[in-house]
C-alpha cells in the first residue's frame, strides 16, 4: 500500500544525500592546504569581490522591495482603468533576463546609442559625462527592474488576502493613503517582502551575465575566472564554498526574522476592496504607471523589435527555430520535474516539521544561490565519478544539463510551494480526513486544487528562469543542442540576436 508520508520522508533524505554528495567536493577542499592562487585571491581579490557582491545584492534587494511594494500597493488599493492589465504587465518584467537589460541600457546611454544620438540630432548641448554610469549602479538598476516582480507578487498576495480588514478600518478612521502605506502596508507586508526579497538576493548572488558584461568583480565572475582562466579548480571551488557559506548566513538571517514575525498577520482576512479613484487622480496614476512601464520595458522592447526587423535577413531561421524549440522543450519539461520534486519536499515539511525537512529545505534553496557555472562544474564531477560505477556517457548527454538545472532551480519552486502550503494550512485536509479520506487522497483532491495559484506561480518563475539561463547552457548543453541564451551571447553584433530571444 503506497505510504505517501514515508515516500516524502525517503525522498527528502535521498535529496539531502544527493545535494550533500554534490557539494561535498567543495567542502572537503577546505580541509586541504591552500595553493598560491588562493593566497593571491585572498590578498588582492576577495576584498573587492565581497564588497561589490554585498553592495549589489543589498541595494538591488532594497530597491526591488521599494518598487515591488509601491506597485503592489497601487494595483490593490485603487480601482482605475487598466488596473488588471497593469497588474499582469508587472509580472512580465520577470521575462526580461537581467543581462539583456544590461546590454540594452548600456547601449541606450552610450555615445552612439539612441539617447545621445537623439540629443546630437537636435543640436541640444550636453556633456558626455552626464551619461557615464558606474557599472555597479547599472547592475543595481537592471536587477531592480527585472527582479522586483518577486516582491510585487508576494506583497500583492498578502495585501489582498490578509490586510483587507486593517486597510478598511484605516480608511473608515480617515487615514490618508500615504499613512496607510507607511503605517500598515509597509510593516505588515514584511513576511511577503522577506520571502520575495530572499529570492531577489539569491538570484543576484548567483547571476553571472550582468556582472560579467559590466566587468564587475563579484563572486560569480571570480569563480569562473579561477576555473577557466587560472585553470585552478581548487580556488574556484573554495570561492564557491565561501559563497555557499554567505548564502547559508543569509538564509539563517531570513529564517530568524521570519520566525520572529510569523504571527504578525492572520493567514486569511477579509478580501480587500479597491477604492475607486476620482477621474483626475485616476489619470495621474495611470500616466505614472504607463511612464514607468514605458521607460523600463517599453523602450527596450521597441528597440529590440526595431533591431529584429533590421536583422531579419541575417537570422538563420532554421537554426533559430531549432534553438527556440530546444529551449521551450527543455524549459517546460524541466520545470514540470522541478515542480514535482519541490511538491514532494515541501509536502514532507508540511506533514513533519523535523530536522530532515528543515535541512532539505535549506539545501534546496542553497542550489538557487550558487552560480550556474559552479553547479555545472559540480554536476560534471558528479557524473564523471558516477561513470566509474555506471558506465554510461552521462557527461555528454542532455541528462547532465537537466540534472544541473534541477539542482539550480528546485529552490525557487520549493519556496513558492512551501509558502502556498503555509498559507493553506492543514484544516481543509484534516476536514477531508475526518470525512474518511486518507491524507494523500485529501492532498490530491482538495489541497492541490487550492494550491493551484502557488503551483502556477512556481512553474512560471522556474520556466522563465530556465529559459534565461546562460552559464549552464553554455557549459553543459550537448553538442548540437543549441538553446537561445548561448545563441544570444555568442553573437558579437549582439543587436542581431538580441531581439528574438528576449521577445519571447
Amino acid at each position: 500500500m503506497f505510504n505517501w508520508k514515508r515516500f516524502t520522508k525517503i525522498s527528502s533524505i535521498l535529496w539531502i544525500l544527493l545535494i550533500f554528495i554534490l557539494f561535498s567536493e567543495t567542502f572537503t577542499l577546505l580541509t586541504k592546504p591552500t595553493n598560491e592562487n588562493w593566497q593571491h585571491s585572498v590578498r588582492y581579490v576577495l576584498g573587492d569581490v565581497s564588497v561589490n557582491t554585498l553592495i549589489i545584492v543589498g541595494f538591488s534587494t532594497f530597491f526591488a522591495s521599494l518598487l515591488g511594494i509601491f506597485l503592489a500597493g497601487m494595483v490593490t488599493l485603487f480601482q482605475f482603468k487598466g488596473r488588471k492589465l497593469f497588474s499582469f504587465l508587472f509580472y512580465l518584467a520577470l521575462a526580461f533576463p537581467p543581462y539583456v537589460l544590461a546590454y540594452f541600457w548600456t547601449y541606450f546611454i552610450s555615445y552612439t546609442g539612441t539617447l545621445q544620438t537623439f540629443l546630437r540630432s537636435l543640436n541640444i548641448p550636453y556633456q558626455a559625462t552626464w551619461f557615464v554610469v558606474d557599472p555597479k549602479f547599472m547592475a543595481i538598476f537592471v536587477y531592480t527592474l527585472s527582479l522586483f516582480p518577486y516582491i510585487y507578487i508576494s506583497t500583492k498576495a498578502i495585501i489582498n488576502r490578509s490586510l483587507g480588514n486593517y486597510i478598511e478600518n484605516a480608511r473608515v478612521l480617515g487615514y490618508s493613503y500615504p499613512r496607510i502605506f507607511l503605517k500598515l502596508i509597509l510593516p505588515l507586508s514584511l513576511p511577503a517582502r522577506l520571502s520575495g526579497g530572499l529570492l531577489v538576493a539569491l538570484e543576484v548572488l548567483s547571476d553571472y551575465g550582468v556582472v560579467s558584461y559590466l566587468g564587475i568583480p563579484s563572486f560569480s565572475t571570480a569563480i569562473v575566472r579561477s576555473w577557466l582562466r587560472f585553470q585552478d579548480f581548487d580556488t574556484a571551488l573554495r570561492l564557491a564554498a565561501l559563497l555557499m557559506v554567505l548564502t547559508l548566513v543569509l538564509l539563517a538571517i531570513f529564517a530568524f526574522i521570519g520566525r520572529r514575525i510569523q504571527n504578525l498577520v492572520p493567514i486569511k482576512g477579509k478580501p480587500l476592496q479597491p477604492t475607486a479613484l476620482k477621474p483626475k487622480h485616476s489619470i495621474y496614476l495611470v500616466s505614472m504607471l504607463t511612464l514607468f512601464l514605458f521607460l523600463s520595458f517599453g523602450i527596450p522592447l521597441i528597440q529590440l523589435f526595431y533591431w529584429s526587423i533590421q536583422s531579419l535577413a541575417s537570422i538563420r531561421l532554421n537554426r533559430f527555430i531549432s534553438s527556440l524549440s530546444n529551449s521551450l522543450g527543455l524549459s517546460i519539461g524541466v520545470s514540470l520535474i522541478i515542480l514535482l520534486i519541490a511538491f514532494v519536499l515541501a509536502n514532507h515539511g508540511r506533514i513533519q516539521k523535523s530536522f530532515i525537512s528543515f535541512i532539505a529545505g535549506k539545501l534546496t534553496l542553497l542550489g538557487y544561490s550558487i552560480p550556474g557555472s559552479v553547479i555545472g562544474i559540480l554536476s560534471l564531477i558528479f557524473f564523471l565519478n558516477l561513470r566509474n560505477i555506471i558506465p554510461i556517457k552521462l557527461n555528454q548527454s542532455i541528462i547532465l544539463l537537466i540534472f544541473a538545472l534541477i539542482i539550480r532551480y528546485a529552490g525557487l519552486a520549493y519556496q513558492s510551494i512551501e509558502q502556498g502550503f503555509n498559507k493553506l494550512g492543514l484544516r481543509f485536509n484534516e476536514a477531508a480526513q475526518v470525512l474518511g479520506k486518507s491524507y494523500f487522497n485529501a492532498l490530491i483532491k482538495v489541497d492541490l486544487v487550492l494550491l493551484k495559484p502557488a503551483l502556477y506561480s512556481a512553474f512560471t518563475m522556474v520556466f522563465l528562469d530556465i529559459i534565461k539561463e546562460l552559464p549552464l547552457s553554455l557549459l553543459l548543453r550537448p553538442f548540437n543542442f543549441n538553446t537561445l541564451p548561448p545563441r544570444f551571447i555568442s553573437m558579437p553584433m549582439m543587436r542581431c540576436w538580441l531581439n528574438p530571444p528576449s521577445l519571447l
Binding site: 558626455a128 538563420r316 553538442f479 555568442s490
Partner: protein, 335 residues
C-alpha cells in the same frame, strides 16, 4: 492522472529534443569561439562546395577548452577555432590537438603564425586610437608613453577580463619580464579616465565623446565600425586616428584539428578551405582582420601589414604567462 500525463509529456519532449551523438559520417563538428557572421557564411559555403555537413557549437574560448579536456577520452569535436593565442598553450599542454599538415600553405604564412598542430587564420594588432579632430597632434608613440603621469585621466581601456588585454600584457611579460610590465600596467591604470567598462568599440566611442584622449583597441574593430550599419559608429570610426606602437602586439585567431576526432579528413579540408585566398579575402573585407595570407589587401583605414613594426611573440608559449598576467592585473588594480 493528469499530472502523470504531464510528466510523460515532458519526458517525450526531452526525447524529441535530445540530439543523437554525431557519428563519423560526412560531417564536421566544430567548436568555435569565432562568433562572427563572416565565419558562418564561410562555413555555409564550405558545406555547399564540399557536401560535408557542418555542426557548429559556439562558446567562449576558455569554456570550449574546458569541454575539450572533459571529452578528451572520447572526442566529439573535429575542429577548434578561437580568437586568442593565449588559448594555444593550454590546448597544447593538455594534448588536445592533432598533428596538422599544412603542405605548401606554409610558404605563404609568417613563420610564427603556424606550428605542428595549429595555424593562424587571421591576425589582429592592438593599437592606440585618438580623436583626429580634437587632438590632431598626438604626442604618444607607444604604451610606455601612455603610462607617463602627464596622461593622468586620459586613458581608456576595456576590462582586464578581456582575452585581448590578457594576450597584450602576456606578450609584454614574455618580452620584457614581469617587473617591467608591472610598472607599465601600474602607470596605465593610474592614468585611466574611468574604471574599465564596455568593449573595445565602447572605448573608441568614449574617445570621440571626450571621456578620454587615448584608447587601447584592436584594429579589426576600427575597420568593422567603418562598415557598420549604424551611421553613428561609422562617424566614430572615421574620426579615429590610429597609432601603431613602436612594438605593436599582434594576436592571432587560430584553428586546429582535435586529436582522435571522428572526422579528421574533413577537418583538414576545412582548414585548407579557410586558408584559401577567397576565404582569407572575406576575413579582410568583411571583418577588418589582417588575414594570415599577407598578400591579401586590408581595409584602407589600417596600415598595410608590412608598414608597422611588430613585437616579437612566441604564440605557443604566450599562454604560459596567463596566470602571472592575471595576478599582475589584480596587483595593479586593473579591474
Amino acid at each position: 492522472m493528469r499530472k502523470l500525463s504531464l510528466l510523460l509529456l515532458s519526458l517525450l519532449i526531452f526525447t524529441a529534443c535530445t540530439q543523437a551523438q554525431p557519428e563519423a559520417t560526412n560531417e564536421l563538428n566544430i567548436y568555435s569561439a569565432r562568433n562572427y557572421d563572416v565565419d558562418k557564411d564561410l562555413l555555409l559555403r564550405f558545406e555547399s562546395e564540399t557536401g560535408i555537413k557542418v555542426n557548429l557549437f559556439e562558446g567562449k574560448g576558455d569554456e570550449l577548452i574546458e569541454r575539450l579536456k572533459l571529452e578528451q577520452a572520447d572526442p566529439i569535436a573535429d575542429i577548434f577555432m578561437t580568437v586568442g593565442a593565449e588559448a594555444l598553450y593550454p590546448a597544447l599542454q593538455n594534448e588536445l590537438l592533432a598533428d596538422l599538415d599544412l603542405n605548401t600553405a606554409k610558404d605563404t604564412l609568417d613563420a610564427n603564425t603556424y606550428g605542428d598542430k595549429w595555424v593562424a587564420l587571421t591576425k589582429r594588432a592592438r593599437i592606440i586610437v585618438y580623436d583626429k579632430v580634437n587632438n590632431p597632434t598626438p604626442s604618444v608613440k607607444n604604451l610606455e608613453d601612455l603610462s607617463d603621469p602627464q596622461y593622468l585621466g586620459t586613458i581608456l581601456s576595456r576590462s582586464s577580463t578581456s582575452s585581448y588585454n590578457l594576450a597584450l600584457i602576456a606578450n609584454h611579460i614574455q618580452n620584457d619580464g614581469y617587473e617591467t610590465t608591472r610598472q607599465l600596467a601600474q602607470g596605465l591604470v593610474k592614468n585611466f579616465a574611468r574604471t574599465p567598462t564596455g568593449n573595445d568599440r565602447d572605448q573608441a566611442k568614449s574617445v570621440i565623446a571626450g571621456l578620454g584622449q587615448y584608447a587601447i583597441m584592436n584594429t579589426y574593430y576600427v575597420a568593422a565600425m567603418e562598415r557598420s550599419t549604424d551611421a553613428e559608429e561609422v562617424k566614430v570610426a572615421q574620426q579615429l586616428g590610429l597609432i601603431y606602437p613602436e612594438e605593436t602586439h599582434v594576436n592571432i585567431s587560430w584553428i586546429a584539428k582535435i586529436k582522435d576526432s571522428p572526422n579528421p579528413d574533413n577537418a583538414q579540408r576545412l582548414i585548407e578551405f579557410l586558408l584559401s585566398e577567397s576565404a582569407q579575402k572575406e576575413y579582410a573585407e568583411r571583418n577588418g582582420e589582417y588575414p594570415a595570407l599577407n598578400s591579401i589587401p586590408v581595409s584602407s583605414l589600417l596600415l598595410p601589414w608590412d608598414a608597422f613594426n611588430k613585437a616579437e611573440v612566441d604564440y605557443e608559449t604566450l599562454g604560459q604567462h596567463n596566470i602571472e598576467t592575471i595576478q599582475l592585473f589584480d596587483e595593479v588594480g586593473w579591474e
